[in-house]
Amino acid sequence: MRLQAKIPEGPLEQKWTRYKAAAKLINPANRAKYKIIVVGTGLAGSSCAASMAELGFQVEVFSFHDSPRRAHSVAAQGGVNAAKDYKNDGDSVWRMFHDTLKGGDFRAREANVYRLAECSASLIDQAVAQGVPFAREYGGYLSNRSFGGVQVSRTFYARGQTGQQLLQGAYQSLMRQSGLGKLKLHTRHEMLDLLLHKGRASGIVCRNLDNGSIESFEADAVVLATGGYGKIYYLSTLAMNCNATAIWRAHKKGAGFAAPSWTQFHPTSLPQMGSHQSKLTLMSESLRNDGRIWVPKAKNDQRLPGTIPEEERDYYLERRYPSYGNLAPRDIASRAALDRIEKGYGVGPMQNAVYLDFKDALEKHGRETIRQRYGNLFGMYQKITGINAYEQPMLIAPAAHFSMGGLWVDYGLMSNLEGLFVLGEANFSDHGANRLGANSLLQACVDGYFIAPHSLMDFLARSGAIEITAERQSNAQASKAQIEDQLQSLLSIKGKTSAEEFHQALGKILYEKCGLRRERENLEHALKEIEALRERFYQDLMIPGTAKEINFELEKAGRLADYIDLGALIVQDALQREESCGAHFREEHQTEEGEARRNDADFQYVSVWEYLKPLTYQLHAEPLTFDAVQPSQRSYK
């Protein structure tokens, strides 16, 4: 496996400009000769597909949803970052770059992170042009708020539904091109294989989820924008159908998988409330602008929160991290919460939560201001829990959320497989070992609107179209036959355990042994347990019905088969990395104060795994070099 990041020469500030200047173009009249497949219609997929169709390329878009607007970008709440410095509070592209690199614990590429900050301002301009109704000040200017891990206000927001509004913008651009006949949309199509022609991505194989037919589609380049895989933990903030299948099938065809074990646990999710729960709902990080996090100073304190006097409360984030306080980054805030819960200070009916309290903010700003800022979040909280957060503090707990890991990509977002581009959360690129809040919407948009149009066109200009040959057709036929066989073999198991039950078991192993905290012996156990689970899966899986009809159980089973194999890789990756960085916290590697201890001498690289056969992977490394900023111990004290 060859890993060439292809980062342009020159000073950090000029790399992206130089890349664009050197990128090859295709004459507008010739663009229609090239076909691009885009899988996924979240922010990264819709934005890329709309942009490429506008340029005049043939574009075909695939989504397993019934409408592109359902993609899980829609659920992002709090905001999107941009270095506009509207607040005159010392923000700049450089500071945003530095915050993001440090937030990721110096495990991302400098050049990628700088470009993300550099393109951020243009994204806000473009979203406004599309009609995204960002919050405004009374003078009509755009409003900002703060997010974790930074000391400036650079987050733009549309109440607590920023992801929905940005996705509407991208979806509308996509539908505009669809209406103009410039792109073809295939909803209810799930990608199940990647086609390669002489080592280059040349198409995909899908299952039509409405009638079960297996169909192949050829193209000159394939874009995967299929989102994250935090749902592997079963209870997560993700949607029920979020999966790793598209990237995993590409991985099995040779695409390197980078940093699989770096999954972020979001500190302000709702805690688990019962045994039938299928997901954990997120409460936006923006709430930490005004909410104060605390637990009682006494263990097993059963008193109602309102009756616990001020001096008997432990505002542990403010105590441990006085300069960032409640806005400490997510990995740190989540571990601090887990520490309190595990030591017996947890609150709520299952003692698995901490308080997020708005009492002081309500006194200071009044109920109306708080309602305008977070009204829909308070409403959502009440719907789920039945508790009024204007009267009582919220109960929150850490939950599996965002995958920093994903398919390895170069500076132009192309994987090690020629012609396979990976965008948004599906790739590994910009967040290092921990993502800062409000940077995920940004990355998905920047990848799709601002980077892929240049790098995809450059690739097609240099590599040309692929001829449709008999060899390609027979290759597609063979893949289709193989997919049909795989589905039949799952259906023929006829066991007694549903895919959902296997998923719950996998999630439990990962939460307990490869979650917020990891330790060698536990990880070795987890690996054995996952191998045993895998064996049981192929002996006892229950799927009703056939492959030639709407069959949600068959869909879930296929996704879970991939999740089990990915789960094993996640554990292997966590075992191999003998250091703590960002979301990856190895008990063996911590400071006396319980903070993460990085090992730059031995682990200043991105781990990239090559698939050899089931449960067997080979490690490759992309060394990380830092020229602009010297890695330091991350401190938020």
């Binding site: 019934d66 409408s67 659920a75 109704p133 539908m175 959502m380 007694k496």
Partner: protein, 247 residues
Amino acid sequence: MELKLKIWRQNSPEEKGSFKEYQRSDFDPAMSIPEMLDHLNLHLMRAGERPISFESDCREGICGQCGFMINGQAHGPEKGSTACQTHLRSFKDGDTLWLEPFRARAFPLKRDLMVDRSAFDDIIAVGGFISVDTGPAPEANSILIAHQTAEDAFDAAACIGCGACVAACPNASASLFTAAKLNHLALLPQGKIEAQERVLQMVEAMDLKGFGACSLIGACELVCPQGISLDNIAKMNGAYRKANWGF
């Protein structure tokens, strides 16, 4: 908790459907409606029966994928909620719940509680956007928008495309959906320019897709999980009149 469920079962659009009754006493009041169906499906599968087909994804009321009629109401009895935000604690032990798909000519049934809502995408495709290409655009703060205007535009833009408005309407009209998008865009300076053309195209698409006309009954507003106001329809009608006849 014990519930009697009467659920619409229909294998395909071609076959006839009917309500089928299920009864269980091991439901938990903390379950959401989709979690209740997951639980029921597990037991149906174990008994060798085909599980109930229904759609649900984010389970936090924002993706718009879930939605069916619960006791004759789109998304069920809780105001401002989707089916996935409705929990069994909203019902009493021993209650009977009738679950059936959204019914409208423009939403053909696929199976059981699943319908095809792609007609909504088709309405957006003819004009539910601002005609601006992606990429660099003028500085964001060069377009000033009053605080209240942005809030009003957001209120209209909050639509999740679930289709409850159509299902609740005796005419199966898509007016609330269409009007919400029209007003979101028409309120903003950058969206005003195309407003006249947009209203003509989207209203025409709505008719062509087989949605009914609006007679201002207001059932749509009552069931909308995002609380989108009926005022949007009045504004759409005004804009349509002006675009067509100039007054």
